[in-house]
Structures are given as structure tokens and as C-alpha cells.
Symmetry: C2
Subunit: 549 residues, 2 copies
């Protein structure tokens, strides 16, 4: 059926000249335009809402007492931080009411460059969840680390032709932008010439520097940590993404933005959210609930989790329950607990009671398409095996010789030892200086028969740390000492390491460090925990280093 | 200077590393994002705003005590109704703070089809005023009249490539749309495929028919005459254009929409506004003032006259005073009288004290460009003489044989006479039936020596009316009687006649009617007033029939 015939079919259902294939009955509709709850049936045809009112359906679902909202949208997420493939992530966040996300494949691009972007585009193409992209603007993120790739304006430009690419992702290099760096401005100009957006990332930027950054065309920010900073950015026309993820949680500090008039230009995003938090707290629904618990108006909070995000990104047919909009719907139990009862994507039930719908959404969608509800883009997730064959470089991204204890030898020869000291809950670290003789190991440890590398002193919470370049087989290793980590024995290794995702190891002795590193290397990425020569736990993350299928 | 170098130059000025070419000092900025008045200089460079704060400029203009607003935008206007060429209209509305309009060239297209659209595009291309287009969707507007052209989907499609064409204009044929008429849906699908908007026009449409109309993709309405109708449309996601023009004035009835939350999806438009009203009441500024006088919040009213219109039409760099936005600025004396003090277009002073700036904007803009403020699109209005040569069919649109009194002969032979009766202030007319013998002329008139055509009876306010097809030389004439017009002698002729703009004549005798019609015909359009064989007044409107240069 062509677009015109499809539209005519929808008009027939809207006008009541034929039964709508699906009518959700007796619920209240959360109307984002008039900010009220409306008593109305929702008629669905061809994947879209076609009417609000009194409708008869071929299928009628009674939702008495419940609230129908537009599907939630995450306006800034790095899918990689979920540590699972997009296919798996969908299983977790669809039941939480998220029907679309805007991802920045910054992590996988730092590992694999355009191959990483291509992989992500393909891995998300077949999902029920709609995945839009902002192109990683800062690969590498810093010249102080060694990434797997560099992406210039030329490498990015080719992607703007895709309807799923909405613009240039967070312009982390705020300093370069404000200085008028040519390569950055070229990336910005390319995005603008394609009619696309530029997202920002500029914690604390203020005054004339902020004016310069916004003049460059940066339309949003997700790094605000207090209301005054956010209001200064709003005044300059930036949209504020209120971030509530795993590491960074800004909602509480930004609660003043949930009121008028600020909320009209704000939206909720997660940025980076780890799998455990997704399972326990939920996704955008969890932020909405938390905002309401902190005093936000529930209707406004829902708008910040859907409508405003759609407005910012120019997603014209999303974020509202109204004729002509996609039938991406979240059914909430009520506006007090805001529990997600069920979720519809393109008019098809895809989740209920916290779980994806029985039989898998795909079948349901095929059936819906056959039943003449039409134009449901029946998507078919690219199987992991296909992707593994097509992107061997993503699934074999470790270019590192076998790691031995000798790699970690470090014997400070000065009188003092510098230690990188972690501060709980913060990204920034401190420098601490210890006299060398103070880090000689203690009697207690020696008695227990443990072997510590020189200057490692768990009683003073000082261990050894190494970062091994693993993209290009350079053999580069950074060695040093880490404090405040709490490790008493063994070693921990991880290929999750923002933003270059090299192999990071912390441990008390070189042998355990080597075993942990080797375990991750053999797994082509992941996490490993080792003690006393034994692997206590390992999680392979073979998709580029940060993700598991 | 390329786009990137231009952007770099603006960033330099924003960051304070070079003086901004223009700084507006000491005014208060009306911030549409935070809905507040901010104390801030406005720095302008390269036609755009680059900073809000404390700035030094090459040129500094002290605006102490005044308010800087974004330039006003009329979201729905038929330029033809101003009865002057776009070039002349600009002289009137720029000083009222209007820096952009969205026109539907429906009238000239009904006269001249695609030639009319081409003419309008060209006649507006060189203006300081930015003129965007919605394509006329209903030419002819009705099968009951004879227009000069028919525009199908095929004729319109070619225009969507233009950046100035924003979509398909008011879909007057709501009935056909709701019925799923193929040609209408094709026009809608073409607009949508080009990523463009579809405007609505559906007075009183409600319930399922409204759902069907909105399902078709119609995103706005400017025909609401009461708040309940408007709110029903807002609930379905339509933007409401609050119209306050010459014939139709809906503002007072729609004042409830000027409050939260409705105002967020509403904007002010004029639709049709006659030249006298433009001179006395102003344009969008006049609607804003009237809304404030009726109780609207001034900041919200300004948003409805600029920001919301820009948002609806996707004009990303308009409607706000913020970095990266065009320096289209209206300086208001204060928020009480809201008098327009001065107007800047692309950062250049174009009007002051109600008049366009001395020396003409063009020179100033050239100078600004030379002074390195850069990228001001120096526009050069297509001279009327050029257009006259290029579009002879627009300037010679009358295809009508000379008109003689014989054309108007009408001798009703029945016992009754039907009269089209005007109702003051309304578009709909009534039918009145008179006995033939009651319309024989009165003694008083005969004594005064006046000659009346048969059945014309000014004492009973009944005159003769004719509509002469004038596009294709068909010689078609519609003859009848008109009541309630108030004409006591002579005749009036006009080529302004919505929507087909044929030649309409009303008069008491055939000789005067012929003279009036001939006067308009010879002028290739216009108005003529005649009495007792003499032309008392004439206004040529040779641009298609409705407009004068």
C-alpha cells in the first residue's frame, strides 16, 4: 500500500467509516498540548493514532483507570554503557516504556572508528525500539590517551544522509570550539549544512565563553550540575538535558527546572546507565518517578521524558497522544506510582507487566501488518552471528601481545611515590605523595604470606595500576599507583575505560595483574577478578570491549 | 568568507577577542526561553546575535530603558490583501517590527496559476523582509466560480525544493480531505515527503471529522472563532493561529488561549489585512498590543507574535534574542504602550520611529557587509519594471472584451425577483424574494431625473450586480440583484473578488455599470466608482487584479 492509500485508510478509520484495528478503551489520555487528563478512547490504525474520542475497534483493550502517555524518549545515551548489545538492551528498556533513544556511539567509535558507527547503525536497525544517532564529535576524546581511531569531519560527513542520524553529538571540546578550532567548526558546519543539530557538553561554561560556544551553534547541554548554570544556558537558548544516570545524577540539583517556564526547554536523559541500575531503577520512567517524588508535576514530568525530547530533535510524530502521531504508547497504572503497565510500539503491544510481550514483538508486528493495520515497519534484528561475521574487527578488537608479570615491574627509585587518589563519587582524582619507605609493606601482610609488589601497601589502600594500549599493538603501558580503591588482594582488569577503552588493571602483585589482564585479553574484552593466582570471576565483553551479546 | 570562517569570526566577537561590529547597550532583553526581562547588552556580528552580557562594540547604540524583542513573524498572510506590491508592503510592516511573514499566494495563483507563484517568489526575493511561502492548496477554491488557473499536485511539487517554501497552505477543502479525496491526499503526501508542513483551514470542524482531518497531517488552524473550538484542536495537536485581520477578528474570543498552557501552541496571524488597517492599527505589533490590552501577559504575547511562529514553521534561528539567532530585533519603548521604537533586520537598522531607515536599508546593508559584519545576505529587490517585463501575463491579466451596457441587460420575467442580501459584518448572505411589481422604481427617483435599470430600487436598497469572467475571455456573465449594499446612484466595480478575482460590478443602471467595468478593464484591474456617466474615482490594481505597485 502506497503512502497515499495508507493515509486514506487511516482517514477512514479516523472518520469512523471503518473500525479501527485497535482501540484502547476507557483510559485517560495524558495530553501534552493542554496538560490535562482527557477521557477518550485511543483509536489506532496503521501504526498511528487516528482518533481520540468514542471509537469501535476490531480489537478493543479495556484500560479502565489507567493513563495513556506518549512513549518515553532518552535524548542522550551511550548504548555501550549498558554493557549489553542493543538487542539485549531493548529487552530491558522497552518494558520501562522507552520507545526511542538518541545514542552517541562515542565508546565503540573510540575503539573502532567508522566501523563502530556502522556496527551500531546495523545492530539497531532491526529493533522495535527506535534508535537515532548523534555522530561522535570527539574521537579521540583527548590527546593524552590512545584510542583505536580518529574521526575527522570527512569521516563523519557521509552519515548525515541517514534519516536516523540527527546531528553531531556532544561537543566535548568546548575549549577548542570557543577558540574557533578549524576541524571542530568544520564538523559543526557540516551538521548545520545537512540541517542537523549539534549537542553540547560543557560543564561549568559561562559568560562570554558560553556565548561563543552557543554562537557556534551548540543547541543543548547535559552537563549542568546546578540550577544557576542551567538557567544561564537556557537563557542563551540551549535546551537542557537533565541527566540522571549511574555515575552522574543531576536531577535533584536541577529540580527548579521542572517548573514553569524552564521545563518547556528541558528533557530527561541517562547518558551512561549501567545494567544493574537499569534493572532496579528503570530508565526514563525511573527519572520521571523520581522527579515526581521530588515534587514535579506528573504531566510536566512526562512531557520532559517524551514530548520535549521529540521537539528538540525535530521528531515531529512522536511525544504526544494525538491523531497522526505514532502509536508509541506507555500505559501507566496511575499518576501516583507511575508504574508502567504496558507498552505499545507502532500500535503493537510489545511489553506488559515489566516484560516484553509473549512470543516476541516481531511476530505480533508481522500479524498486525497482515491484518491490514499497514505500514508497521516490520523490522528484523540483525542476528548477532551475522554481525559477528560482518564486523570481525569489532568482535576481535584486542591487538595486544600476551601479558606477563614482567609487563608490570615498577621499582620507584626516588624518595617519594606519587599516588593517584580516588575521591568517592567524583570523577576528578587527587594527587598524594608518600615517602618511599612508608610503602614497604607491613608486618601483618607479610605474616599472612601475601606477596605484594614494591610500594603496594593495602593497609594504606595503595595498589598498583596499569593501562595497556590494546588497539594497535604498540606495547605502550602506563604504570603507576592507585589509592582509595579498597583492594586488599589480587587484581581487577577491565576493558571498559572511558573514552579510549584500553585495558586497565589494578592489583597488589604483578602475577595476579598479569592473569587478570590475560583473562580479559583472551576474552577479547571484559572484566576479570583474580586473587592468589586464580580467576575468581570473569565477564567477557567481546563487542568492542564494552559490550556483551 | 566561507561559512566556517564566518562562524569563526562570530565566535571571536562572542568570546570578546574582537569588538562586535554592533552592540545594543543598556536595554532589557525579552528572553523567550525564561520569560523574563534580562539586563544585557546584545552583541551583533555577521547578521547574528553573538552575545548577551557586557560587550564593547565598534558601533554602540544606547537603548536605555527600552526592551529588545525578537522580530515579529506573521504565520499566515495573503500579501495580496494589502493591495500593494510586496515591495511596498515591506515599507509599511517593517517599521511595525515584522521581520518575516509566511504568505500563501492563493489570490494571485487563482488569477495566474504557477506564474502567480513564480511572480510572488521573485517579487519577494530581494526584500529586507523575509518572505516564506506555503503553497496554495485549493486553486480553484470552488467549482462554483471560474478562476484563472487550476493547480494540481503535479504543479505544486516542483516548489518544495525551495528553502523558502515551508509547506502546503490552508487545506480549505476540509470536506474532501475527510473524505480521502485522492488529489488532496497526493498534495499532502508530497508536502510530507519533502519534510514540509500542511496548514489547515477548517472552521467549526469537530469530533471524528476533526480527527480525520488531523490524521491527514494538518498541523494548524486559523479559523477558530471561539475558545472551545480552539481547545479541541489544540488537544489534537494542531497549532492554533489566532487571526486578527480586517474582515475576521478572532482575538477577543480567543483570549483564553493567551494563558498557560494553551499559549505555548498558539501564534498571531493576520490572514487578510487591508492597507488602511495596516497603517492605523499596525501589523503583528498591533495584535500583541491588543492582546495585552485585553489582559495577556506581555512576554507571552510577544512569544505568540514571534517565537511560537518560528517554532511551528521550524525556523530555527528566529524568534529569540540569543546567540546564534538572526539579529532580527524589535526595540519596544516599554511593555506598557509597546510602541515600536526601532527595528533591526539581520543586524542592520531598517526602521526607526515608524519609518523605514533613512537612505534605504539596502545601502546600510551593503555598508554593513563591507564593514566586515559579513554574511548579511545583501538583497536587491527585483525592480517593478523588470517584473513587468518578465511577467507580462501578471500585469495584463484581463482577458475580457470591451464591456457595454448591453452586457448588463436583465429583465426578470417572472412574478418574483430573488435578491442576494448582504448581512453587515458577515460573509454569508441571505436570500430575499420581492414581488416584481414592488421593484418598479419610485416616483421620487423618477422626479430626480435618474434612470434606473428594471427592478433596481435604491429606496429599497436593491441594485443590480454582475460578475464578469475575465481570465479566459469566455464572455460568461453572472447577473442578479444585490440588497443591503447602500448604493443610491452610479456603480462600483472591483477586480478584488475572493477567491477567483473576476470583475464584480454593482450599480443602479447599465450605463454606469459598463463605465465602471470598462474603467477597471482598461486599468488591467482595480476599483472604479462611477455616477451619472462620470468616473468619480479609480484605483488601478494592475498586478494581477488585486495589487498596485
Amino acid at each position: 500500500m502506497g503512502r497515499r492509500e495508507h493515509l486514506k485508510d487511516q482517514i477512514q478509520a479516523a472518520a469512523g467509516r471503518k473500525r479501527a484495528p485497535l482501540v484502547l478503551k476507557s483510559a485517560k489520555v495524558l495530553n501534552v498540548f493542554t496538560e490535562e487528563l482527557m477521557e477518550a478512547d485511543v483509536a489506532v490504525c496503521g501504526g498511528c493514532i487516528v482518533g481520540l474520542g468514542d471509537y469501535d475497534g476490531e480489537v478493543e483493550t479495556d484500560l479502565a483507570g489507567k493513563i495513556i502517555c506518549p512513549g518515553f524518549i532518552d535524548g542522550h545515551i551511550h548504548l555501550e554503557s549498558s554493557m549489553v548489545s542493543p538487542e539485549e538492551l531493548e529487552q530491558v528498556i522497552l518494558p520501562h516504556g522507552t520507545t526511542a533513544v538518541v545514542t552517541d556511539p562515542h565508546e565503540i567509535a573510540n575503539v573502532a572508528g567508522t566501523d563502530g558507527i556502522d556496527y551500531m547503525l546495523e545492530a539497531t536497525e532491526g529493533l522495535k525500539l527506535d534508535v537515532f544517532f548523534m555522530l561522535p564529535s570527539c574521537v579521540p576524546a583527548t590527546g593524552l590517551d590512545e584510542s583505536g581511531a580518529e574521526l575527522g569531519a570527512k569521516e563523519l560527513e557521509r552519515y548525515y544522509g541517514s534519516g536516523r542520524v540527527l546531528g553531531l553529538a556532544e561537543l566535548m571540546n568546548a575549549y577548542g570550539t570557543v577558540q574557533g578550532d578549524g576541524e571542530i567548526l568544520q564538523k559543526v558546519c557540516d551538521a548545520q549544512a545537512a540541517g542537523k543539530l549539534v549537542d553540547g557538553h560543557a560543564p561549568g561554561l559561562s559568560g562570554r565563553e558560553l556565548d561563543a560556544y552557543v554562537t557556534a551553534g551548540v543547541k543543548s547541554d547535559h552537563e549542568c550540575s546546578d540550577a544557576a548554570e542551567a538557567i544561564e544556558k537556557l537563557r542563551r537558548g540551549q535546551w537542557v538535558m537533565i541527566r540522571q544516570g549511574t555515575a552522574a545524577k543531576n536531577l535533584e540539583a536541577l529540580m527548579p527546572l521542572c517548573g514553569a517556564p524552564y521545563y518547556q526547554r528541558c528533557m530527561f536523559v541517562t547518558d551512561d546507565k549501567h545494567p544493574g541500575d537499569l534493572l532496579t531503577e528503570g530508565h526514563i520512567d525511573g527519572i520521571i518517578r523520581r522527579a515526581v517524588a521530588l515534587g514535579a508535576d506528573p504531566i510536566r514530568a512526562v512531557k520532559m521524558g517524551s514530548f520535549h525530547t521529540a521537539q528538540y530533535f525535530g521528531l515531529q510524530d512522536r511525544g504526544a497522544v494525538a491523531p497522526g502521531y505514532r502509536a508509541d504508547l506507555v500505559v501507566l497504572s496511575d499518576l501516583e506510582t507511575m508504574t508502567v503497565h504496558s507498552v505499545y510500539k507502532d500500535g503493537v503491544l510489545v511489553a506488559e507487566g515489566g516484560k516484553t510481550a509473549e512470543g516476541g514483538g516481531k511476530q505480533t508486528r508481522d500479524a498486525a501488518a497482515e491484518a491490514g493495520t499497514g505500514q508497521v515497519p516490520v523490522k528484523c534484528a540483525a542476528a548477532q552471528t551475522d554481525l559477528r561475521e560482518k564486523y570481525p574487527q569489532i568482535y576481535h578488537s584486542f591487538h595486544l601481545e600476551p601479558v606477563t608479570p614482567e609487563h608490570f615491574r615498577l621499582e620507584p627509585d626516588g624518595a617519594q611515590v606519587r599516588v593517584i587518589w580516588l575521591v568517592p563519587g567524583e570523577l576528578l582524582t587527587e594527587e598524594r605523595i608518600f615517602p618511599r619507605e612508608a610503602l614497604q609493606g607491613r608486618a601483618g601482610a607479610a605474616e599472612a604470606g601475601r606477596r605484594f609488589a614494591p610500594c603496594v601497601d593495602p593497609e594504606q589502600d595503595v595498589v598498583k595500576m596499569a593501562v595497556l594500549e590494546r588497539h594497535k599493538g604498540t606495547g605502550h603501558i602506563g604504570l603507576g599507583f592507585l589509592g582509595g580503591y579498597g583492594l586488599q588482594r589480587g587484581a581487577v582488569a577491565s576493558s571498559v575505560g572511558h573514552d579510549s577503552h584500553n585495558l586497565t588493571v589494578a592489583g597488589v602483585c604483578d602475577e595476579d595483574m598479569a592473569l587478570a589482564a590475560e583473562t580479559v585479553r583472551k576474552n577479547q574484552g571484559g572484566l576479570a577478578v583474580v586473587a592468589d593466582g586464580k580467576v575468581l570471576g570473569e565477564l567477557p565483553l567481546p563487542i568492542g570491549g564494552p559490550m556483551t551479546p
